[in-house]
Chain length 105, copies 2
DNA sequence: GCCTTAGGTTTACGATATAAACTTGTTTAC
DNA sequence: GTAAACAAGTTTATATCGTAAACCTAAGGC
C-alpha cells in the first residue's frame, strides 16, 4: 500500500462509504433503472431507511428519482446519475488502493 | 460480485469501517508497536480524535495500550491484538469481495 | 362503509465522529 | 527561581448521522 492511500482513506466520500448507501448505489450502477420495492428486497433495508438514504443520495446529486404510477399504485424509481457513477468509481479506486493485494491470512 | 456480498456489506464491522480507525489499525498491523506521536504524524488525525478512536479500539479489544516514559516524558504506545488482526483481515475479505475486480472505467 | 394492505415519508432517538478546551507535567527563558 | 511556553494526551461539547417506529394517503377487500 502506498503512503498516500493511508491518508486518502480519511477523505473517502462518506456519502458513499456508508454501507446502506453503498449497497443502494451498487445496485443502481448495475441497472438502467430500479424500483423502490426491488431495492427494498435486494438490499434488505427497512423502508424508512431506504427512503431516507435515497433522499440523501438524491440531495448529493448521485441519484435521480422518478415518481409515477403503475395503474393506480405509486411507483418510485431510481437511477444513478453520471456524477454518482463517477463518485462510485472513485470510491472503488480508493478502496482498492487501500486493500492488501492478497489475503494476509 | 456475489449477491451475498451485497447484503454482507450492511453487516460490515463498523468499528473498522470508520476511516480514522481503519487508518490506525492499518498502521498498527504493519508494525510490532507504534507510538502515539508517530501515529499522529502518519495518519494526520488530530490528537483528540486519535486519542478517542484509539480508546474505542481498545474497548473493542482490537488494540492494546501501553503507557510508559521516555526519560521523564510520557509515551503512549499501541499494538494490535490477535482479535484486531483477525477482524481487520475479515474486513479486507469482505471489502475485496465487494469491489469490482477491475476499474469499471 | 370499515378494515386492511401497499407504498412510501417524516419524526424521534441514540450513537458517533470530531474539534476545542482542558490537564498534568516538563523544559526553556528571563 | 519563577513565569512562560511546550509536550502529550484526555475530556467535554456539539453537530451530524443512521435507524426504526410512527405516521400518512390512497386503493382494494369484506
Amino acid at each position: 500500500m502506498k503512503d498516500t492511500a493511508l491518508k486518502s482513506i480519511l477523505d473517502v466520500d462518506r456519502m458513499i462509504h456508508e454501507p446502506a448507501r453503498l449497497a443502494i448505489l451498487t445496485v443502481l450502477s448495475a441497472a438502467e433503472q430500479v424500483e423502490f420495492l426491488f431495492l427494498l428486497k435486494v438490499t434488505g433495508l427497512s423502508k424508512g431507511n431506504l427512503s431516507a438514504q435515497a433522499q440523501k443520495l438524491e440531495a448529493a446529486g448521485y441519484v435521480e428519482t422518478t415518481k409515477g404510477f403503475r395503474g393506480r399504485v405509486p411507483v418510485t424509481s431510481f437511477r444513478i446519475t453520471p456524477a454518482g457513477r463517477k463518485a462510485l468509481a472513485a470510491y472503488h479506486t480508493q478502496m482498492r488502493a487501500f486493500l492488501p493485494k492478497q489475503p494476509s491470512k
